[in-house]
């Protein structure tokens, strides 16, 4: 009997692998392939007119952080790269925090509506998300430019008499990214709040907890998985954002995505572009590891 069961189990295992093979092959070629090429390129020498020459070099990686003075060959930090790196991380973090501040009450509001109207609210959140990214970005641009809606309204109402320069600043990039990625925060937050048993909130009030204590001690711990998922979903694409900083920053306020594009385009330094791409990937990986670990802890906690 056990022989039969064993051979059937073996057969099943073999079938499972066979069925998985096409997906694995595609994953290997489409996901790992380009990554390997990028990694390889980052260790080569730039060609004169773009492309790479097949000579091993760590120059690109060196240039991510350091630069050599063109006149006296002294070493210094690559201030431009570091400030762009810092701006990317800073703006992404601020976007994430902003998305939490705006998204949390929004998700809570929707989750506490009667079931049939929740879908309508979610639709309203999703509609902009289905619109072309460039169009959405230009819409925000129209709002905040010097002759735009916000400034016109403020001048008309007499609050200010000179338009505030928002466009082409870091603030503009943040506003743009916040608008673009907010649905990615609201969705997972709403999903975990919808599952929240509001009897627990009542139980909290019943046990002498103030509104703030209920939020901190009961709601926050229970929607934490959604909060973390939303933060990752906003932080990761913000970090690599290309269109929004390009349009809202007016080419003056570069982020990592723009810097990478520059190396592959006008900069004609593919290895540096590849090294910067891998750097971006590394930062994202750190964020994801943080997510997986805290999500894993949650799992154990709930038993």
């Amino acid at each position: 009997m056990s022989d039969l069961a064993q051979s059937r189990e073996k057969q099943e295992r073999r079938n499972r692998w066979l069925l998985l093979t096409p997906a694995l092959v595609i994953l290997l070629i489409a996901a790992s392939g380009p990554l390997l090429i990028t990694l390889t390129y980052s260790f080569l020498t730039p060609g004169d007119y773009g492309g790479v020459e097949w000579r091993f070099s760590t120059e690109a990686w060196f240039n991510v952080i350091f630069q050599r003075d063109i006149f006296d060959d002294t070493l210094g930090f690559a201030d431009a790269h570091l400030s762009i790196l810092w701006r990317s991380v800073k703006l992404s973090l601020m976007t994430t925090i902003g998305a939490v501040i705006l998204g949390f009450p929004t998700a809570y509001f929707i989750a506490t509506r009667p079931p049939h109207s929740r879908d309508i609210w979610m639709l309203l959140i999703m509609i902009p998300f289905w619109t072309n990214l460039l169009i959405r970005t230009f819409a925000v641009m129209e709002l905040i430019r010097n002759e735009g809606t916000v400034n016109s309204l403020l001048i008309w109402s007499g609050v200010i008499d000179q338009p505030i320069q928002i466009l082409f600043t870091e603030t503009a990039i943040m506003i743009g990214m916040l608008y673009v990625y907010l649905p990615l925060m609201v969705l997972p937050l709403y999903a975990s709040m919808e599952r929240l048993d509001f009897n627990l909130v009542e139980a909290g009030y019943d046990l002498y907890a103030t509104r703030f204590a209920v939020l901190r001690r009961i709601i926050l711990p229970l929607v934490k998985p959604g909060l973390i998922a939303g933060s990752i979903l906003v932080f990761v694409p913000s970090l690599g954002a290309y269109v929004t900083p390009r349009v809202m920053g007016g080419g003056k306020q570069l982020m990592l995505g723009n810097l990478i594009e520059l190396q592959f385009g006008q900069g004609r330094n593919w290895p540096l572009g590849a090294a910067l791409s891998i750097t971006l990937l590394a930062i994202v990986m750190v964020a994801l590891i943080f997510y997986v670990r805290s999500a894993g802890r949650e799992e154990v906690g709930h038993g």
Partner: protein, 356 residues
């Protein structure tokens, strides 16, 4: 002492206006086990939530020891609730759940630890202190919910059908347990249930509710033996309703004429205005007798064996049926079989004439 005075709660407006509570007045005494009993949708849970602070009444007042409760938000009221679904915090352990209320009250750490230990001992959950609430059984969750609500030592404990999710055997045990806890702690319990047996076995006093209002308040004995109206008699236990004509009324006794033409004395709390055409009588107060004896005569339609006792359904006339219950004592043999003509008899003074 909680005084609920002329409390009403309306939902909706215009035609769809629905009165969840309609002019409810009741006084709940100190240290009593008070039960709100009624079918689902009768407003009993709404009344409990009014006391807890989760529902604001449209009209009326609620005071506790002279203090207006309605001006206080739920977290400032000295009452705690055991929820029907228990509502234990899933991200906290048993110990942390029980400690929650005390922490919110800002008690010192040592005192919290001591009280929590006492509470866990009280509900026999000490061994489970560090389990997550998802890892314990329904009955254990029930105990934790109780301990959590009792830990802050509330003046009043509100229990919203706390036993309805438990199986029969466990429910029986918890009924006794709850009664013991109430006696030991001396806390006023306000208990909501739709289970009449639960209400009868545990309560000091019962308020029977229907369609948003209280129909009768009294001790289990009063409610069972002297139901004030048809709804109460019908809802609590099994009752036979016999058409009668009320003759002379003397004090709280009345002379009633049955459909057979025979007369018998019955209790009547008619408030002097007369009337009343229904006699309520409990099956166990009647007995089968040979056909030429007894107050009523009919055909034995059905014999149902229940183990502890047997129910005899007797058809009297066209649409009058009476159920008689006889205890199955050792050695007792069925005297009558289905189809026999039998007599039904009951003593004077056990029937109750109902208000119309």
């Amino acid at each position: 002492m909680i005084e609920i005075d002329k409390v009403s709660k309306a939902y909706g407006a215009g035609k769809s206006r629905f009165m969840a509570l309609n002019d409810v007045s009741v006084t709940i005494r100190k240290n009593e086990f008070f039960t709100l009993l009624g079918p689902s949708g009768c407003g009993k849970t709404t009344l409990l939530r009014v006391i807890a602070g989760f529902v604001d009444p449209t009209e009326g007042s609620v005071t506790m020891d002279g203090q207006d409760l309605l001006v206080l938000p739920p977290h400032r009221r000295p009452v705690n609730t055991v929820f029907q679904s228990y509502a234990l915090f899933p991200h906290l352990t048993v110990r942390q759940n029980i400690a929650f209320g005390l922490e919110m009250l800002g008690k010192p750490k040592a005192e919290i630890a001591q009280t929590v230990d006492e509470m866990m001992a009280l509900v026999q959950m000490t061994a489970m202190a560090d389990r997550q609430t998802g890892q314990i059984s329904g009955g254990q969750q029930q105990r934790v919910a109780l301990a959590r609500a009792l830990a802050p030592k509330p003046k009043v404990l509100l229990l919203d059908e706390p036993l309805s999710a438990l199986d029969f055997k466990l429910r029986k045990d918890m009924q006794i347990e709850l009664k013991r806890l109430q006696t030991e702690t001396g806390i006023t319990f306000v208990f909501v249930t739709h289970d009449q047996e639960e209400a009868l076995t545990m309560s000091d006093r019962i308020a029977v509710m229907s369609a948003g209002s209280i129909r009768q308040i009294g001790s289990p004995h009063d409610i069972y033996e002297q139901p004030a109206e048809r709804f109460v008699a019908d809802f609590i236990g099994d009752t036979n309703f016999l058409p009668v004509q009320v003759g002379t009324v003397q004090g709280d006794m009345a002379e009633v004429t049955l459909s057979s033409g025979k007369t018998v004395a019955a209790r009547a709390v008619l408030g002097g205005q007369g009337g009343g055409t229904t006699l309520a009588i409990r099956p166990e107060h009647t007995r089968l007798v040979p056909p030429d004896q007894g107050l009523l005569q009919g055909r034995l339609e059905n014999v149902v064996y229940f183990g502890t006792d047997t129910h005899y359904h007797v058809a009297i006339g066209k649409d009058e049926t009476i159920v008689t219950r006889a205890q199955n004592l050792p050695g007792s043999v069925a005297q009558f079989k289905t189809g026999d003509t039998v007599g039904v008899d009951f003593p004077a003074g056990v029937g109750q004439v109902l208000k119309d």
